[in-house]
């Protein structure tokens, strides 16, 4: 097992890991000083590139490469940290912000140095009041001792950090919607080009990185990119926090090395399926990802491998369902989430996501028709032509395709469960659960 990069401090100091004192005692801000005092911005950037670190927000884009897209001579430029973690089943950034906010602050300062940005913004999901308070406090503590502000560490590098509490829209986790929202506009995704790296916040070059991505920076700066790249797999280096939820005995956040298999994640870390049951299906990388069935348990947690398998590692949220799960009902609940969170800007997602929800709801209510399966496929296809992953899309942003992924992937994997709903077999009143109920089985156990 590799070293813990992200969660060591909160495990060692569970009662005060978020304080500056505790952070100082655990190599806190040494990475920052090393960067600003001993390295040039280019050298820091080179270390990040060498680490092979890939973004932890969902898309998995190599961070060092992303930084390289910023035009050389346009200033000011901004770093915006995406703390709008809202994907169902994802709860790692919240934990990092609550328990280890200083590693976020240090990571931001290091990144700003490398990017030659003098102002960073942290955009925190509105519902995470506790995380917001911890981050604000960490920034104030860091400012008080001179890590944030003018002439950091006695150098001529200055950096300001603004913490912004968002208003609670899932779509604002999409980077361009986030930038619009942060600048005071409606939180709608923007058309690309221009890309944020060229024209982002306030029309200036902007890098948007995830909280977890930032929290890796102190370690990489202290120990070097090469050491980081030794962990994990060749194309997915490092460790990552996986948010394990669903029908496992020990759900939670686990920092593990990339390349571990799902089976190991479920059995070793999740301590097996509840009641000794078996895995029927799992969501491998957040609510947006196409589902897998048990045949994919030995697939390694590797971004590229998952892509080849037709899904994604996404935000690192892994949801497990055992043999009792009502797949169409679980899918309906996810689609309902996406329909509710659609920003409404473009037609296919605004109208289509809601229609998918209504069709599924009607089927679950016992009014499925034989043509409904073809209809579901075709509505999905009109949002995401071809029904593949990574998806094609008729929409502006990937939210529309995300709403379709659970639908088409599960109709393919579990056609019988849907056919049951459209052939009249489900019309027995006894078998229909109340609308909005949890998947069958959970209530029985509780």
């Amino acid at each position: 097992m590799a070293e813990l990069v992200l969660t060591r401090r909160m495990l060692d100091r569970p009662h005060d890991s978020w304080t500056l004192d505790a952070y100082h005692e655990m190599e806190g801000y040494q990475g920052l000083y090393r960067a600003v005092r001993e390295m040039t911005p280019e050298q820091v950037h080179a270390e990040v590139k060498a680490s092979g670190l890939r973004g932890r927000g969902g898309a998995g884009f190599p961070t060092g490469t992303k930084w390289g897209f910023v035009p050389k001579d346009i200033f000011p430029r901004y770093l915006v940290v995406n703390g709008d973690e809202g994907e169902p089943g994802t709860f790692k950034d919240r934990m990092l912000m609550e328990r280890d906010p200083h590693s976020l602050v240090e990571g931001i300062l290091i990144s700003c140095y490398a990017l030659q940005s003098e102002h960073a913004f942290i955009y925190i999901r509105g519902e995470m009041g506790h995380a917001y308070e911890r981050v604000v406090r960490a920034v104030e503590e860091a400012r008080a001792v001179g890590y944030v502000g003018k002439d950091i560490g006695g150098t001529d590098f200055s950096c300001e950090i603004t913490v912004h509490k968002a208003a609670g829209a899932y779509i604002c986790g999409e980077e361009t919607a986030l930038l619009s929202s942060l600048a005071g506009y409606r939180g709608w995704p923007r058309l690309r080009p221009p890309f944020p790296a060229v024209k982002g916040l306030y029309d200036k070059p902007t890098v948007v990185n995830n909280v977890e991505t930032m929290c890796n920076m102190p370690w990489i700066t202290r120990r070097g990119g090469a050491a980081y790249a030794e962990m994990g797999t060749e194309r997915s280096p490092g460790t990552r926090i996986f948010c394990l939820s669903g029908h496992v005995n020990r759900p939670g956040n686990y920092e593990i090395e990339l390349g571990t298999t799902f089976r190991e994640l479920f059995e070793r870390w999740g301590q097996g399926v509840r009641n000794g049951g078996r895995v029927k299906a799992f969501v491998p990388g957040g609510a947006s990802a196409p589902w897998f069935d048990a045949s994919k348990l030995d697939v390694p947690l590797d971004m590229d491998v998952l892509g080849k398998e037709g899904s994604m590692l996404g935000s690192g949220a892994v949801m497990v369902m055992d043999q009792d799960a009502d797949i169409p009902r679980a899918v309906w609940r996810l689609v309902k989430f996406f329909a509710h969170e659609s920003c409404g800007q473009c037609t296919p997602c605004r109208e289509g996501a809601d229609w998918l929800e209504e069709i599924l709801e009607r089927m679950l209510d016992g009014h499925g028709r034989p043509q409904d399966l073809d209809l579901l496929f075709d509505v999905c296809d009109n949002i995401s032509p071809g029904l593949n992953w990574p998806p094609a899309q008729t929409t502006i942003c990937p939210l529309g395709p995300s709403a379709t992924a659970p639908v088409w992937s599960t109709i393919r994997l579990f056609p019988e469960e849907y056919k049951r709903l459209v052939t009249g077999a489900h019309t027995s009143l006894a078998s229909s659960a109340p609308a909005g109920a949890e998947p069958a089985g959970v209530t029985a156990d509780a």
């Binding site: 058309l191 037609t347 009109n382």
Partner: protein, 805 residues
């Protein structure tokens, strides 16, 4: 210029066919020019693209996934496919999505029959819906202001209206609320869509979600006939299409042209067609009986009216008396020319004036060299605006200046009182021309200088000489645009309805012009300038005017001294009023003749750029109302003058023959693509006036405030007051004062004040509600004109404010 076109275009492949397109142009527009229509809802050629509706998705070789044609610019060699099975499927899919929640109440929808959603469904749609669930419901319809209703069930969330409101009009009062499936267009709580341009959102709505109250349920598209014409609301000259059904005007829609209006109209221009069908129109000639009381007119036939007027003219001419005419800015060029010719040839006088001492010197307007056109705004290095409040008086000109300044980044200098919607974007604001320092201008590039009468209390002479001085100082860089307000006032000046000018921008003493006129005009008229409006009324007060023609004008309202105007009319022995409606002037008339107006008379008009555009007759005038031109011709014929000008077409030919600046203007030039932009007239031969430095007019000493009298968009003018939908919209009798001045004077916002001329001879005495407005310059009291009873306005007046408890 075909050579230029080939130079600036590149080949692209469109569905396997090579076509030429301009690099940077949006694919959707390039394809349309090449004959391939890509369906669309949110894209509008005059709005910022947003690619929201997803109807225009196409495939582009080398670009991942489907691309919105409204957002992707043309690049050389790009391969575009608009007809693939995938594109077709997506189009059907998007249309099915859009129709899911659309109520399909087409039979009771104003848009039915001319609806892009209907049309696209027929051309690109799936034909049948698979949606069996319940549609979205909203309260319908809800008013968003006094003129426009919103039906959110019909809305397809294309953001055309919201973009128009924020990006074009600068009135960001329409926005989206909620999100996802609940996304809806909305106004802010307790804040209606207060915009002078609100009708445009009805026109650009691709469904029937926005409907106008004046047109609602009035007609179906297949019941109307349409003619393209030019708006007569002000001097901008916006193009529009006038709809008629059963001989009534029922709708006016903007027509896109590059030169002037881009398809926009202001709400006054759009909805004022209502006055044409007003019940209060004059319909028969009226004659005052010698013995009758003030208001007792008797109806007479046209023959009798013409004969009696002709007799009067003959009598007055026989005794060496004076005949004069004021007004004429409402007329078409052909009618104005007829009046001009009539006054010179039949009445033998230059005492004509189409302005009521409320505009600019006519020779300054007609003699401006190196003129700007509207399309120069966006190319200028700077715009210097020393005009009236454009948003209030020349609304679509405001839109074009706003576009240049806000969207194209042209710096703006505002001189004088605030410009609604523009002052906030100005680089610098100067209270008076005297305070302006040209050193601040960019060192190179065109300077567009827009000059107008900013206040009825302003010295127009000083304003124009200042503008000329600035032009001289900066030389050829300056492109001057003198702006007047009334509909065809620029055309009227060009037709010689000015005491010092003859038709075609030449002075009355211009020998060449007189010689040419002598070949066509049968009659003598003096070579010296005649009286202007103020001089005519002055003479009338002294009893020196024997016949006064008042043509489509109301001096008792619009002349700055209504008391004097009234006395003048009372003391003139024979007053002939030609108008559409009874006015305060008709009360003093001896003859009232019912005139045909906008929408009833065809011909041409000239806008403030000097652009000649056509107007169309779409309905017949009510009763016996007739074109002013016909009236003057018949009187002339009665006096055995061979007047000619039997039709507007013949008159235009004569104008082109005798009016130097109008040489070559002919009906054929209004045809074809180029003709859509109208015909710019040439320069005349009015000598540039002498310039003079603007006198410092420092803030008056003592307690006096500088008086500013500007126009408000909604007032008591005929256009507004005779339209049922518009008559209630004027702000009413208020005065605006800077809050600091109010505080200093101890007057609270919203209280009643008395505005009194400091000069005891000034006679200005008003009771008004005071509104604090920090855009009003310090030391100024701003009174909107024509909100209630007219008042006396003295040029350079200073006033005091008194609190009324």
């Amino acid at each position: 210029m075909p050579e230029n076109d080939t130079l600036s275009t590149v080949p692209i492949s469109l569905d396997g066919r090579e076509v030429q397109a301009s690099p940077g142009q949006l694919l959707i527009a390039a394809a349309e020019e090449a004959g391939v229509y890509i369906p669309r809802f949110c894209w509008h050629p005059r709005l910022r693209p947003v690619a929201m509706c997803r109807m225009c998705l196409v495939e582009v070789e080398g670009m991942r996934g489907l691309q919105p044609a409204c957002y992707v610019p043309v690049k050389e060699g790009m391969e575009v496919r608009t007809q693939t099975p995938l594109v077709k499927k997506v189009q059907e899919g998007v249309l099915e999505f859009l129709l899911l929640n659309h109520p399909l109440d087409c039979p009771v929808c104003d848009r039915g029959g001319e609806c892009p959603l209907q049309d696209h469904t027929m051309s690109f749609g799936p034909g049948e819906s698979r949606f069996v669930e319940e549609k979205r419901h909203f309260e319908k319809p809800v008013p968003i202001n006094n003129l426009v209703l919103l039906d959110r069930e019909r809305c397809i969330q294309c953001a055309r209206c919201t973009r128009f409101a924020s990006d074009v009009a600068g009135d960001p009062l329409l926005e989206f609320g909620s999100r996802g499936n609940d996304l809806q267009v909305t106004v802010f709580p307790d804040e209606p869509f207060s915009s002078y341009f609100s009708g445009n959102v009805v026109q650009i709505c691709p469904v029937g979600a926005l409907t106008s109250i004046p047109y609602r349920f009035k007609a179906r598209p297949w019941d109307v006939t349409i003619a393209e014409t030019t708006c007569g609301g002000c001097a901008v000259g916006c193009r529009g299409a006038l709809s008629e059904t059963r001989n009534r005007l029922i709708r006016f829609l903007g027509v896109d042209n590059d030169a002037v209006s881009w398809g926009w109209l202001c709400d006054k221009g759009r909805f004022a067609y209502e006055y044409v069908g007003s019940e209060n129109r004059l319909t028969v000639p009226l004659f005052r009986e010698e013995t009758a009381a003030a208001d007792a007119f008797s109806e007479v036939s046209w023959a009798e009216a013409v004969e009696r007027i002709a007799e009067q003219i003959q009598e007055v001419k026989g005794t060496g008396g004076n005949i004069a005419a004021i007004g004429g800015a409402r007329l078409t060029n052909e009618e104005a020319y007829s009046l001009s010719k009539f006054m010179r040839v039949v009445c033998g006088t230059n005492d004509v004036d189409c302005q009521l001492d409320d505009g600019l010197p006519a020779d300054f307007v007609a003699g401006a060299r190196n003129r700007a056109v509207i399309n120069d705004f966006a190319k200028a290095s700077v715009i210097v605006l020393a005009g009236p409040d454009l948003k209030e008086e020349l609304p679509v000109l405001y839109l074009r200046v706003r576009d240049a300044v806000v969207n194209q980044g042209v710096p703006l200098f505002v001189i004088g009182p605030p410009q609604s919607g523009l002052t906030d974007f100005a680089k610098k604001v100067f209270d008076t021309p005297a305070a302006f320092d040209p050193v601040l201008l960019p060192i190179a590039g065109d300077v567009v200088l827009i000059v107008g009468r900013q206040s009825a209390a302003q010295d127009a002479e000083a304003q124009s000489t200042w503008a000329l001085g600035l032009s001289e100082q900066l030389g050829e860089r300056v492109k001057l645009l003198p702006v007047l307000r009334r509909s065809n006032v620029h055309g009227a000046i060009d037709m010689g309805l000015s005491p010092s000018l003859l038709p075609g921008r030449v002075t009355v003493d211009d020998l060449e012009a007189r010689e040419r006129l002598a070949q066509v005009w049968e009659g003598e008229f003096p070579p010296d300038p005649g009286r202007d409006c103020r001089e005519i009324l002055d003479a009338a007060v002294e009893g020196k005017i024997d016949i006064l023609f008042v043509v489509g004008a109301d001096p008792l309202t619009d002349f700055p001294d209504p008391v004097m105007a009234r006395r003048a009319l009372e003391r003139t022995s024979f007053v002939v009023v030609l108008d559409l409606f009874p006015s305060s002037a008709t009360r003093f008339a001896d003859v009232v003749l019912p005139a045909a107006g906008w929408g009833e008379v065809s011909g041409t008009v000239t806008n403030l750029e000097g652009r000649v555009q056509r107007v169309a007759a779409k309905v017949t005038a009510p009763g016996q109302a007739a074109s002013d031109a016909q009236v003057f011709r018949e009187i002339a014929e009665h006096l055995e003058v061979d007047f000619g000008c039997g039709t507007p077409e013949a008159t235009l030919r004569e104008i082109a023959q005798v009016a130097p600046a109008y040489q070559g203007v002919s009906l054929s030039r209004f045809r074809g693509k180029k003709g859509k932009e109208g015909v710019l007239v040439g320069e005349g031969r009015v000598a540039p006036r002498t310039s003079s430095p603007f006198e410092k007019d420092a803030r008056p000493l003592g307690n006096g405030f500088r008086l500013h009298v500007g126009r408000a968009f909604w007032d008591r003018g005929t256009l507004v007051s005779e339209c049922p939908s518009l008559s209630g919209l004027r702000p009413g009798p208020i005065v605006r004062v800077h809050p600091e001045d109010l505080a200093f004077a101890g007057i609270t916002d919203g209280s009643s004040v008395r505005v009194l001329d400091e000069d005891p001879a000034g006679r200005l005495d008003l009771l008004r509600t005071v509104v604090a407005d920090e855009r009003v310059p310090l030391g100024t009291v701003s009174v909107p004109h024509n909100q209630d009873e007219p008042f006396v306005i003295r040029v350079g007046a200073t006033v005091t404010l008194e609190r009324i408890d």
